[in-house]
């Protein structure tokens, strides 16, 4: 049932678009764009440039999903969400998918009624301190003032870590990475804590990154991944397998360079199924057969995205580490496409 609601005198064309539909997929297709929740600004993961064009590691997921579902990676409406507003934005249907370095935890998955569809970055919480502080381990941070983003798992991990080590700290709650950066650089806190990847991204943006060190302790497991609302399995499957397609593409050696060539047919039946040359995986969840090809074409396979946004050649300079393919000793391991 589609019913548009117009709200009184304030209503005007283009301002109101209301639809009631059974599934998120239908909503997205009817709307013609994907509402994707992203970070308000974390260089490398999701940040707008001066013209409002978003780019980054998480943004690539949004693009891939939009390409798979709508056929155009640019049909995405990026909704900047803070640590505090992200889950409510998702729960309240304001966004269709949340790709905002969010940690997969039991309570979020079960109690918040959200569905994590996979992991796109294996992370852990770390600390960054100025070199001048002369601290080389997180265990030496007793009594320190620590800047921390509110509404994140890091807040809870931090409380647990200090409690477990019988140390005290005074938290300074901040709302966004930009604020944290400002407070940290101004010396308002001794240490800044967030996911190690976020620390690297933040440090890379400093005027003199070498004045700051990231402490060796990783105090938590932070599997970061995109998530959707609980209860719409079809939509969850689409996002999950789009992510898997990107990861699988790297494993099978599909890159944006050889994508066209491989989609004409290859010797590997798995690649054929993935790119829609054979089989009919796409129609099983309501898309056409070329969905994965479009998703990969959007910004390349997982490895290409990683390298272009946060990899070692970028200012952020993250090594693949845990995020290498299982064949390379990492944790990325997609279920087979069959």
């Amino acid at each position: 049932m589609k019913k548009s609601l117009f709200f009184g005198t304030l209503t005007a064309a283009g301002m109101v678009a209301g639809f009631a539909a059974a599934g998120t997929l239908e909503d997205v297709v009817a709307r013609g764009e994907l509402n994707c929740g992203v970070n308000t600004g974390l260089v490398g993961f999701a940040a707008p440039d001066a013209n409002g064009n978003w780019s980054g590691f998480d943004v690539a997921i949004c693009k891939a999903v939009a390409a798979a579902v709508l056929g155009d990676p640019n049909k995405v409406k990026y909704v900047p969400t803070s640590g505090q507003t992200r889950f409510t934005a998702l729960a309240s249907s304001e966004i269709d998918v949340l790709a905002r370095n969010s940690t997969w935890t039991f309570t979020r998955d079960v109690d918040l009624k959200l569905d994590f569809v996979g992991v796109n970055y294996y992370d852990g919480q770390g600390f960054m301190v100025p070199k001048a502080l002369g601290v080389s381990s997180a265990k030496e941070l007793d009594g320190a003032t620590i800047c921390i983003q509110t509404g994140t798992t890091t807040e809870l991990n931090l409380a647990d870590f200090f409690k477990a080590n019988n140390m005290t700290y005074s938290p300074i709650a901040i709302d966004s990475n930009a604020e944290g950066e400002q407070q940290y650089l101004a010396g308002a806190c001794d240490a800044y804590t967030t996911d190690a990847s976020g620390l690297a991204a933040t440090r890379a943006a400093f005027a003199t990154p070498s004045d700051h060190i990231i402490l060796p302790e990783i105090i938590s497991k932070e599997p970061l991944g995109p998530l959707v609302r609980h209860g719409d399995n079809q939509w969850g499957d689409i996002v999950r397998w789009t992510l898997n397609a990107l990861i699988a593409a790297e494993e099978y050696g599909i890159t944006s360079a050889n994508l066209e060539e491989l989609s004409k047919g290859s010797s590997n039946p798995e690649i054929d199924r993935l790119l829609g040359t054979s089989g009919d995986l796409g129609p099983m969840f309501g898309l056409d057969n070329l969905w994965a090809k479009r998703a990969i074409a959007a910004s390349g396979n997982y490895g290409e995205i990683f390298a272009a946004t946060i990899g070692e050649s970028t200012p952020i300079g993250l090594a693949r580490g845990l995020n290498a393919q299982w064949t390379q000793g990492g944790l990325l391991y997609t279920p087979p496409f069959r």
């Binding site: 009184g8 678009a17 600004g41 930009a178």
Partner: protein, 482 residues
């Protein structure tokens, strides 16, 4: 006897005026009277002088060393160091220059900047018959300045196929109208809301047109049912447009869009930012909250218990919670309260909340105005045999609103200032949203004061002129001769 009287000496001519003592004249006297009239005043003067000295000493070098042309904060610092030596500080206004467009338009598409600019210019024209109706001099000055501004701004804004000439013709035409028949500009005022929405958001022209047509439908319904009595006709005039908006409009629009497409490039709400966003929300809130506030005030003074109770409940509820929590309701909870799947524009939601917030305050201000009217005015209206609405419209409200002007305008100023809070629901307000976004870039990291000062100055100019205008209005409407 008299003739024998010999006066010792009588001066025959008047002495020339002498200069007053030095201490009683000119600047010295002024200083004695105004600055050093007593020990307390003397102390205060020196404290004041010290404050001025301190502020100048601390900040004037920073301002004097301003840099206007640079590509990044680092470059700014280098320039200051090179010019004024090591350790000198200087303001880096280059950030404003470099990101001027973002502060003004947010992420609004660059090639469409002319649309919000023109919408703002037309706003002044549309407001002219209402705001500057009495003095032709002031009106022409204001409109002239706006026209010149538009003509200067337009060539730089990538207007399609050089329509600057067309704009010039239109502006001259409207200026002529404003000169000769200012009231005819009321037509522009009437269609402006639809026009502005269309220009800002783009899309099909039929949407705003048909939405505005709802008012015409309401008016027609009122005309048609007038003979059945006030209550029925008012009911019809409210019901008909609501039905039209809810059910009639969408199919008609679909039909018209299919047969007579009249669309310009659409701009989505999340592209709005900076002062375009602040002014959009501010103006919409101001325009909508005044009527709503007046209705609420009348309802609160109503004899009908239930109506009064509802009005009191609404007003006290809205005034009792912070605006920011209402904005959270708009962004987080609205989807719980509306039918499943309904989703409507975040700017529209914010406008509704801001409007309700300001309306509750205006209702209280107007209620004060109504209460201040002498009872005789009500009784006089009754004795003339006017019904409730006529009495309100012709006698009570004009006077009550006149008394309430200062309060209403300060509510508007508050509303405009509160538009900065939209940053907390993810919109790019000029103060924090845009500033944070600009500072997130590599080049402008570390520029804290300049954006704040710049944005603060613009808000100050807007609000200060609003408060001065309210003083002018008060004087203009002064009818008693004191």
């Amino acid at each position: 006897m008299a003739e024998h009287h010999t006066a010792a000496f009588v001066r025959t001519e008047i002495l020339p005026e002498q200069a007053p003592p030095v201490s009683e004249a000119g600047i010295i006297r002024w200083m004695r009277e105004n600055l050093f009239s007593g020990p307390l005043n003397t102390v205060l003067t020196f404290v004041g002088l010290f404050i001025i000295y301190f502020v100048l000493k601390e900040y004037s070098p920073w301002l004097r060393h301003s840099v206007w042309n640079a590509g990044s904060v680092g470059e700014c610092r280098d320039i200051v160091t090179a010019k004024y030596g090591e350790g000198a500080t200087g303001a880096c206004w280059a950030i404003i220059r470099d990101r001027w467009n973002m502060f003004m338009f947010g992420f609004y598409p660059r090639e469409l900047y002319w649309r919000p600019t023109l919408a703002l210019g037309l706003l002044i024209f549309a407001a002219a018959p209402v705001l500057f109706s009495e003095s032709r001099l002031i009106r022409m000055w204001v409109l002239g300045v706006v026209s010149v501004f538009l003509m200067v701004a337009f060539p730089g804004l990538d207007v399609p196929n050089g329509d600057t000439a067309l704009l010039a013709v239109v502006l001259v035409g409207m200026l002529a109208l404003a000169w000769m028949r200012p009231w005819s500009l009321l037509w522009l005022t009437a269609v402006y809301p639809g026009l502005a929405v269309w220009m800002l958001w783009g899309g099909s022209a039929w949407g705003p047109t048909l939405a505005m047509a709802g008012f015409v439908i309401g008016w027609l319904a009122w005309l048609a049912t007038r003979s059945f009595g006030t209550i029925l006709s008012v009911g019809a005039a409210v019901l008909a447009p609501v039905l039209w908006w809810l059910f009639g409009m969408a199919p008609v629009q679909a039909l018209l869009d299919a047969s007579l497409p009249a669309a310009i490039e659409g701009v989505r709400s999340e592209k709005f930012g900076g002062f375009v966003l602040a002014v959009t929300i501010g103006v919409a809130g101001i325009v909508l909250s005044l009527p709503m506030g007046v209705v609420l005030a009348l309802a609160r003074r109503s004899d009908m218990f239930l109506i009064k109770g509802l009005a009191v409940g609404f007003i006290e509820f809205i005034r009792g919670v912070p605006l920011i929590s209402l904005l959270f309701v708009a962004s987080l909870l609205l989807n719980y309260f509306l039918p499943p799947g309904t989703n409507f524009d975040i700017i529209l939601r914010v406008i509704i909340m801001v409007t309700m917030f300001a309306a509750a305050y205006i209702a209280e201000v107007v209620r004060g105005g109504l209460a201040a009217l002498p009872r005789g005015q009500y009784e006089a209206a009754d004795s003339l045999g006017l019904d409730y609405w006529k009495a309100q419209r012709l006698i009570i409200l004009p006077q009550a609103l006149k008394i309430s002007i200062p309060g209403i305008v300060s509510t508007f100023i508050g509303l405009f200032k509160d538009t900065t809070l939209v940053v907390f629901v993810g919109l790019l307000d000029p103060l924090k949203g845009i500033t944070d976004s600009v500072r997130a870039s590599f080049e402008w990291k570390g520029a804290y004061w300049e954006p704040y000062i710049f944005v603060g100055c613009i808000f100050f100019i807007f609000n200060f002129s609003m408060s001065r205008y309210s003083m002018y209005l008060e004087r203009r409407l002064q009818r008693d001769h004191e």
